[in-house]
Symmetry: C2
Subunit: 95 residues, 2 copies
């Protein structure tokens, strides 16, 4: 199982925030001054967002960057547990 | 006051981890297969680390990436509070 990358979970988090707010790629890309295509690639985990761009996207979403990072950390922790749990652990959880 | 950038807090966090372990830039750069100069720039917040490089550095430090991100989130939250607290809030805290 390939380890998950930070940009993938960051993209997931940013997309979920945007969708939860009922906002479009066009809206956020305009506010954050990034091309719609690039923002879409960031959301899909295909491009790294620079720190400046990440700040601009969070500002456009009106979400503190600290909150986005905490969310990404939580998602990462879940994936790390999945890949490091000993065999049988899933059975124990399911029981 | 310029908003702090993610790469600056990430660099701080990675450097503190390395120093706390008593390890050298040479040691970590060797394990993570990144040049010593590049790692040093990442630690000083001058270069963005790709998600792949970030995973490699965390593996070299034997620290879960989720923990590093939680640490960066905490540092970011402190900075956000400093810049967003209303005037007088520091006085209230100090009282």
């Amino acid at each position: 199982m390939r380890p998950v990358l930070m940009r993938e979970l960051l993209g997931e988090t940013l997309r979920e925030q945007r969708v939860a707010q009922g906002r479009t790629l066009r809206d956020i890309s305009g506010s954050a001054r990034v091309s719609l295509g690039y923002l879409s690639e960031v959301e899909r985990g295909q491009k790294e967002a620079s720190s400046e761009l990440l700040s601009a996207i969070c500002a456009a979403l009106d979400v503190p960057l600290s909150q986005v990072l905490a969310d990404v950390s939580d998602r990462m922790a879940l994936r790390e547990n999945v890949t490091t749990l000993p065999v049988g652990a899933a059975v124990a959880y399911a029981a």
